[in-house]
Symmetry: C2
Subunit: 167 residues, 2 copies
DNA sequence: CAGAATTTTCAAATACTTTTGAAAACAAAA
DNA sequence: TTTTGTTTTCAAAAGTATTTGAAAATTCTG
């Protein structure tokens, strides 16, 4: 049976790997992983020593995770240090990630698609262009709507019969 | 009304931007965008001059797009040059992307989760670890199943009543 | 087969991203 | 207010990823 320390390392490592495949800073994901599995909130110093990263790096990535709404600060009366803990409900985690990426990436793309869906169409090249842009726009709008629905839905969605109907 | 050339530039640029946000080489996405909107298959030389990139770069990215199953080669009898065209059915495009990323990223993660779901659990730290790993594993398995279903479903899925029921 | 056209490779150069660490800013305590 | 503990900032360094371009390999043609 694998021991805890080894499992922890593996988890942090592959969470980081996966994130960097998806265009997210590897260290940010590792900090996230560390806080996800922590039994108690951690200080910046604990994050630094656990992951063997600098103070600046720890600070910047904890901050980014808070911007994403995945990590929160805990202040303890009588203590100067700040403690950090991750949101552990996977449904909330995924919802936050969807919300963030949708806003930062999908929505700007939709805006561009809308802008360029009005190009003048008077040659075979622009014909082909317009057709593809129209299709992508239709598709993206649908995806956008579905994500909205997903985000509005609550945690029970995963066990919703509708979900299994899709199989 | 926006002119074709400007629209084309904007499209290529934002397709590349979006892709790089998602951990995909920007130039690869730009080549993809160019081929997506092209009325006819293009040669490597045309890709090079349209995007102003080197021969090696064009070759490597066209190749990668073929590996992803998003671009195909067309050979013309009596011509030495190779022509390339993109799959334009958005449903097929998205399906290919899902298939590729699922295989390269989600599946390895699932494997790791399975491995580490058997860590010994005998302290508060490992307790917290096991709980989170179990939740993530449950969630990822569900996501994996849903993606499988999505990929198996056909193009009509998007207009399937089930889809709108999710709203 | 030799020559010409074309594609592929890959080491080096360039560009981009992340990390460090020390100094500055800040905030609580004395 | 001064000291002390803590967080934040950011320029420079280190680390990664991408691009180039010329040489090698491949493939077609005569």
């Amino acid at each position: 049976m694998m021991d805890f320390k080894e499992g922890k390392q593996k988890f942090i490592e592959s969470w980081g790997k996966m994130a960097s495949d998806w265009g997210i800073n590897r260290t940010m994901a590792q900090v996230h992983a560390l806080l996800l599995i922590a039994a108690e909130p951690l200080t910046a110093d604990e994050v630094m020593s656990e992951l063997d990263i600098s103070r600046g790096n720890a600070n910047m990535n904890i901050r980014a995770l808070m911007d994403w709404g995945l990590v929160h600060k805990q202040l303890r009366t009588g203590e100067r240090k700040e403690y950090f803990y991750a949101e552990k409900d996977m449904w909330v985690v995924v919802r936050q990630i969807i919300l963030n990426r949708k806003k930062r990436e999908l929505e700007p793309m939709l805006k561009v698609l809308e802008e360029i869906s009005g190009v003048e169409n008077n040659c075979p090249e622009s014909e082909s262009f317009c057709t593809v842009v129209r299709d992508i726009r239709k598709f993206s709008n649908k995806a956008n709507q579905t994500l909205d629905a997903l985000v509005k839905a609550d945690a029970t969605w995963l066990s919703n019969p509708l979900f299994s109907l899709l199989r």
